[in-house]
Subunit: 343 residues, 2 copies
């Protein structure tokens, strides 16, 4: 380390006894140079710990090695968990993931897309806000940058969508609940932020019809991303009004259910499938906290690992295909019913 003058690739090339263009090639793809050359470079790399200047690298490169990851609401552990897995896979594949959260705000999502554009990312994984999203802005973005949507789809946007099959989620819970007890009512918020909510309601209705049961949708006031509080307030109101037509409630998602369970607890309503309980509650998502609710929550869970793996694999494939697919792909994964104590 006596020679600290290794600042540029020029210096480093000289120190390693390889020409700069070849060193440059190496950093672009270590496998693109001869084995012996690679060894020499990597030996030098250990001796001098030089790192190429990111800004200079990306200035002229056609595509960078950046991958943008955008989620609607990072404070939701569901997204935090998915991001964790996705980040890891990107890094392992030699990319640099940049993480952004729209924080539930339309303007923020637009800004993020705008900034991301100038980062010239190789590809982007976007979980859009949904109803709040600026559709034209997203469409324009997807035209310019290879993008895979996940979590919630927007008709025709992005080169691919990877998500969970809402019908699979709901059919499993509805089937289980109606088989083992009273028919379920569907609990949701009035203006869901996310299109999955609508699909789940539709799935509930169609499933009830198929089972020849009378459906019942409970819609509670509320907007935004504070689902737990909405579920709690809605729950308190329903319980006070005695507004539950059956003793089984199926919540649209786990965060609503967490709030609903809190309301039940406050009101002394015993939730569970055990003897002496007043109410059964089930839900969808497999939220990381769903096993710590009181009682633990019966839910249809996303297959986090499979979904996130497929998301990144699709993006890598898209990048290798030059950023375009022949035809928009859409992949949905089924849910896995997790039976716990609440229903």
């Amino acid at each position: 380390m006596r020679e600290q003058k290794i600042r540029t690739m020029e210096d480093f090339a000289a120190a390693s006894g390889i020409s700069r263009p070849t060193v440059s090639k190496y950093f672009n793809d270590p496998d693109s140079v001869r084995r012996s050359t690679r060894q020499k470079i990597e030996e030098a790399l250990e001796r001098f710990e030089y790192r190429p200047n990111i800004f200079a690298m990306n200035q002229n490169r056609r595509a960078t090695k950046n991958i943008g990851i955008i989620v609607p609401y990072l404070a939701d552990p569901f997204f935090a968990e998915i991001v964790r897995v996705i980040e890891r896979r990107c890094i392992d594949a030699g990319f640099s993931p940049s993480l952004f959260s729209s924080h539930g705000e339309r303007e923020r999502e637009i800004d993020i897309l705008d900034n991301l554009r100038s980062l010239k990312p190789a590809g982007v994984l976007l979980a859009p806000l949904g109803r709040q999203s600026d559709k034209p802005a997203i469409e324009a973005f997807c035209r310019d940058v290879p993008t895979v949507l996940f979590d919630s789809s927007i008709e025709g946007m992005g080169e691919a969508f990877v998500g969970s099959d809402n019908y699979s989620f709901v059919s499993q819970t509805v089937e289980y609940l109606s088989r083992t007890g009273d028919r379920p009512c569907f609990f949701e918020m009035m203006h869901p932020a996310n299109p999955n909510a609508n699909k789940r309601r539709d799935a509930y209705l169609s499933m009830m019809q198929r089972l020849q049961l009378e459906p019942h949708v409970l819609r509670v006031a509320g907007e935004g991303w504070g689902f737990e509080e909405i579920g709690r307030q809605g729950g308190l109101k329903l319980l006070a009004e005695d507004g539950l037509p059956t003793n089984t409630v199926l919540c649209s998602n786990d965060r609503l259910a967490i709030g609903f369970l809190a309301a039940c607890y406050e009101k002394g309503v015993r939730v569970g499938r055990a003897e002496g309980c007043d109410l059964r509650v089930a839900s969808h998502d497999g939220h990381p906290f769903s096993q710590f609710t009181c009682p633990s929550l019966t839910t249809s869970a996303h297959d986090y690992a499979t979904v996130s793996e497929h998301v990144v694999k699709t993006l890598f494939r898209l990048i290798e295909s030059g950023g375009r697919f022949e035809k928009r792909e859409e992949t949905l994964f089924p849910a896995r019913l997790i039976m716990r104590d609440s229903a």
Copy 2:
């Protein structure tokens, strides 16, 4: 928009009738040019929507406008919430925040620091892993990059530390609990990841001594960042063994408490301060979910808004001071006791 040829600052300067160096100055600091010039540029900016090339910009700039934000575990809503506020403030101040999560892994933290270095950030906000952190690596990083630590401090590292005053947290809960009922036992994990845990235990011990009460620390097995499960398992074990010397449990943090409450529920132990309850449980942090536990959790809460505001203000001050303070600053904010149903 007929002239789409605006690709470079050169083009844009020509189109706006201003010389390129002046335009460059404008993008560095809009206030550094004459009022009339600024107007002309901003008018042109609307007509052509040109945006300077980030990579070319940062290549020669002494300091970029990037700010790195590193948290130990983003799937913890506590950090997600803090990050949300910090991000917003950075953006409002004209910086570009980049968010990273160490995901509880030592190696990941090291890698992030390494990558961040080459992003030449104007400053970095670092919430270190704590016990797991590679101290020398962090120290070296802080020497090179203006860094403010938050959440958990590491002796002497960074130019400043901003966090919460653990003594304030614990003294309030201990005082409240012992005044209104049985003396509290302190519930913690064996090998806490975070140094705050140790400070809280010490605060508990010293507070109990001052109140002339016999302290009792319950340490449960467990390591890593799955606090809820650790709390739950530990709780189940304690309840099975009848290992609680008093009917009041003070958890080191809310996530442990969430798990502990789940254990109590499973075992049929009624938690709360109301008539007929078996156990009181309180905790520290003011976790976003603490109001939705069953029962809702009495806790000493961080002052999120104040802490995060002070964190970013300190960093901005540091950046303006050229990256160094005369003397390392350390600011601690007191907690606010939130009384709910659990104790």
